[in-house]
């Protein structure tokens, strides 16, 4: 009886305010989707930096005969210099380990990395690829001192850090996450105001009913629940649309990222994000409804 009554009232309320309800659903959907995407980018960045931290290394390329690098003066590194350099690397604080990669190994890696670009592989000879030391770090975030210590050593053509290569990508992702979250917050505010307005309209539309309910002694809960439920249902609908958007975002965006960067979000992370955004959406709807009801529905 009670549930029946409340739901029929809710249905009437939603139908009477159809345009407002649609506006609420859309706003909640977009804001929750942005919030979810922001959160997903955030955890994607976290995952990727963990993944890359394990792999990040500093490459110290050695001089070859005829090298174009100015540091080499066109002379190849001598075996004595190689030995001295290796000792120097091992003594540098922050170095976890070091590997020597000769031209043949480098060529093998090169061939693997560019297996989809046969033309490039074809024109590259083994001798074109420099020998190098691959240094892994104790603390990947603190690569700078090691990098500086390698620069200018005799026989060193160039020092590169993979971190420098992927850093712009990380900062792009962080910016995107920040942008998505800020827009989401603004939209959440808009959604709250819209819900407030919807409830206000609804309260006005049904002032006759609520007046009689008050008169015959309906409890506050009974009077307010239909309005709050309207907000909740609109919020839930918005949440469902947001979930669809998030699933699409995972399949078409994040799974692509996985293909390039080796790691990405699983369905578990997605489910968590969806749950979180739904809960936030519904809680916001309930709060907005209650706050408005206190102002516009004297009980």
């Amino acid at each position: 009886m009670r549930a029946n009554f409340i739901f029929s009232e809710v249905w009437i309320g939603l139908r009477r305010n159809l345009t407002m309800t649609i506006a609420v659903v859309i706003t909640v959907a977009v804001s929750m989707a942005l919030l979810g995407v922001g959160l997903m980018i955030n955890s994607q960045v976290g995952l990727m930096s963990n993944y890359w931290n394990d792999k990040v290394e500093i490459s110290v390329f050695l001089c070859k005969k005829g090298s174009a690098m100015p540091a080499c003066n066109g002379k190849a590194i001598t075996p004595a210099q190689i030995k001295a350099l290796e000792d120097h690397i091992k003594k540098t604080p922050g170095v976890k380990g070091v590997l020597y990669e000769n031209s043949a190994d480098a060529y093998k890696n090169f061939k693997e990395s560019f297996s989809n670009n046969q033309a490039l592989v074809d024109v590259t000879r083994v001798e074109d690829l420099p020998e190098s030391f691959r240094i892994s770090l104790q603390d990947p975030d603190n690569y700078k001192p090691v990098l500086d210590a390698m620069k200018g050593q005799p026989g060193v053509a160039d020092v590169t850090d993979q971190r420098q290569l992927i850093a712009p990508f990380f900062s792009l992702l962080n910016t995107l996450a920040f942008a998505a979250l800020s827009v989401a917050i603004v939209l959440v505010l808009a959604a709250a105001l819209l819900i407030g307005n919807t409830v206000r309209l609804s309260a006005f539309n049904r002032r006759r009913e609520t007046g009689i309910m008050r008169l015959v002694g309906a409890s506050n809960l009974y009077i307010q629940l239909p309005f709050v439920m309207e907000g909740v249902i609109a919020g839930l609908l918005g949440g469902v649309f947001a979930a669809v958007i998030l699933i699409l975002a995972k399949v078409f965006l994040f799974d692509e990222v996985v293909r390039f960067f080796g790691t990405g979000l699983g369905w578990n992370d997605l489910a968590q994000t969806i749950t979180l955004t739904m809960v936030i959406g519904v809680v916001i709807c309930i709060l907005a409804s209650f706050v408005t009801l206190r102002r516009y529905l004297r009980v």
């Binding site: 009886m1 009670r2 006759r208 009913e209 309910m213 008169l215 015959v216 309906a218 409890s219």
Partner: protein
């Protein structure tokens, strides 16, 4: 049943009190007319009984409850024991007679079986048998007021408050309304009716409480409306 002890009510932004040190007792099962010109405090009296307003001073007891000590949470329970009828009927235009009466029970969570049993009885009591499925706009003013009375009485309240129930109804039809109120009164329900209608007061010969400028100027059992009108 209703006990006012030295009650004063001053509305905000007004200097003159709507009720000025009013003390009155209404016993269980009584029928009381509240008479007096517009602005004399009749409606304020009824609103205070419902705890829609709070007095500035004085104590009000309704159905054994001290309204000052009644929490907001308990106010709906007080109102379930009080039925209300108004000059403008206040029916729901999109519900038929049966649904309008049933609404009062639905919103206080009564089971459907109970509603199906009680509503037709009350509809018959107010003399609307056979019209349960009419919409309010298909009924005359008198019939609409009967629906309102059925709704007010369906939960068997201890008190029925009527604020000028015959104000929008022609004299001939008013007699029928008064008969229904009398019938309700005979079931043991206390009835307090605010009215301007001298003919009705004179014909009923019930207790009359007259208010003027917020003060009780007359309280007479088996009274008439008064010479001044």
């Amino acid at each position: 049943m209703i006990h006012f002890d030295n009650v004063t009510k001053v509305y905000a932004n007004q200097n003159r009190p709507a009720l000025d040190h009013v003390s009155v007792d209404v016993d269980k099962g009584e029928f009381v007319f509240l008479v007096g010109p517009s602005g004399s405090g009749k409606s304020t009296f009824l609103r205070l009984v419902l705890k829609e307003e709070r007095p500035n001073s004085g104590a009000i007891h309704v159905a054994g409850k001290d309204l000052a000590r009644l929490t907001n949470f308990k106010v709906p329970h007080l109102r379930r024991r009080i039925g209300c009828v108004f000059q403008d009927f206040r029916l729901l235009p999109n519900k038929n007679v049966y649904e309008n009466v049933a609404f009062a029970l639905e919103v206080i969570g009564k089971p459907r079986r109970f509603i199906r049993k009680v509503v037709p009885e009350v509809v018959e009591l107010v003399g609307l048998e056979g019209k349960a499925h009419r919409m309010p706009d298909e009924l005359s003013g008198g019939e609409q007021q009967r629906v309102a009375m059925a709704r007010a009485f369906v939960n068997r309240p201890m008190i029925l408050l009527a604020d000028e129930p015959t104000g929008n109804i022609d004299p001939a039809t008013s007699i029928g309304i008064m008969k229904v109120l009398d019938r309700i009164n005979r079931t043991g329900t206390t009835v307090v009716m605010a009215t301007h209608d001298a003919a009705i007061v004179d014909s009923m010969r019930k207790r009359v409480v007259e208010l003027e400028d917020g003060k009780i100027v007359r309280d007479q059992s088996r009274g008439v409306y008064g010479q001044a009108y």
